[in-house]
Symmetry: C2
Subunit: 243 residues, 2 copies
């Protein structure tokens, strides 16, 4: 096994920027558990694997390049505060068609932790596709990948002009709005699309008129709002609890 | 208005450590909105206010010390990536008695963002008290304060030996466990205490036998687990949806 060259360090670090990820068609996954998952399920997509001597990832008989790094080298290419023992560079997945009756749409989610948590939630409730407005944080941002806990491998994420997309579809468009219908009093089933808005501003002005089913989580106390990933969890739970 | 002295800078920075917060009985709140809320509702508790010239906080006729800081100075005392325009040092609140039928207990939550989000959730659903095991992250950790979005002013948080606490109480003890009863099939009302476990390990071995009502959120897809603050949201929603 080769050691990690300076050029490879530079190349991996460059993938922290969306511009470079898009140009090279590559992204990073870190941590023993997610790296193992990538190797087991997506070995075709793997471009390059980095392990430290403490890693338990088996590297015999693999069909991709492997380098061994010191803890310091791993730290220098990692986006984690406490880097794990391995990191893998993956090719962006090919676009695939998904058959599903229910989708989530994100209108300008900015926080990578929120997007990652929403991916994880989609994976829990078996929502197979997430539609993101162009303003939404990149799903291959390393913090999103990490917070998704492997969901990134299973959920299809599509970026588009959300206004155009919603104008064209002919399904119920649910939207989390403060003045929507009480979600506990309305029977909802997972057919259509559920729109969640930006952390600070909610659903944008141009999208609001496209919402056919405004819904809201009633408030019992004094908090002004809920975190968007928590609100997504509560709403998904309402969509799926009757199933 | 005085400018911010080096000694004050050192003093405020020291409050980033729990040891110093406990010793001095002080904690920090940042950002125009939360600072404004502190001044409006808890001016008795305020020890010291720092504003930049861009702050819109009114500082006439206030009964506490105020200093003006440059953006660089605020950055040097802030725990935020993008420091806001004001920061306030508050005295820890006095212990108060709370009458309530329903509490949340946290068994070793480590991530400040999760604790802050759970405070915000408690504030939304009007859960008035959170009991934390000694291993749980400090509620006056600046990242918790920030993520709580003001809930820290309204929710009582008590640290104790959680095992002792749960052994002494005579109310239903709900616990989020993977092998619990399906929360969608069990009618729950907000009476008793809801225990949530650590991010990686769940509820600890010594607490599990004390759970009288093990409950679980059914999984439809493939994610291994849910983020603990998201799970708290879904469970609280189930407790309160019938009310």
């Amino acid at each position: 096994v080769q050691s990690l060259s300076k050029n490879k360090i530079k190349w991996i670090r460059s993938l922290q920027l969306k511009k470079n990820r898009d140009e090279l068609g590559l992204f990073i996954v870190e941590g023993e558990k997610m790296v193992q998952e990538a190797i087991e399920n997506f070995s075709q997509q793997i471009d390059f694997l980095v392990v430290t001597k403490f890693s338990s990832i088996k590297t015999d008989d693999v069909s991709f390049e492997v380098a061994i790094a010191t803890d310091e080298e791993l730290k220098s290419i990692s986006t984690l505060k406490n880097p794990n023992k391995s990191l893998v560079v993956l090719k962006l997945p090919a676009k695939r068609r998904i058959e599903t009756d229910f989708r989530i749409a994100l209108d300008g989610i900015q926080d990578p932790g929120n997007l990652g948590t929403i991916l994880r939630l989609a994976d829990w409730f078996d929502v197979k596709e997430i539609i993101c407005s162009k303003e939404t944080v990149d799903v291959y941002n390393p913090k999103v990948v990490q917070a998704s806990m492997g969901a990134i491998f299973r959920i299809k994420v599509t970026y588009c002009d959300l206004e155009d997309y919603l104008k064209k579809i002919k399904v119920p468009i649910f939207g989390a709005l403060l003045e929507g219908q009480n979600i506990y009093k309305k029977t909802v089933e997972p057919k259509g699309i559920l729109v969640l808005g930006n952390e600070g501003n909610g659903i944008s002005e141009k999208i609001i008129p496209l919402i056919t089913e405004p819904i809201t989580i009633p408030r019992f106390g004094q908090a002004e709002s809920l975190n968007v990933s928590v609100a997504t969890g509560i709403l998904l739970s309402e969509f799926f609890r009757g199933n």
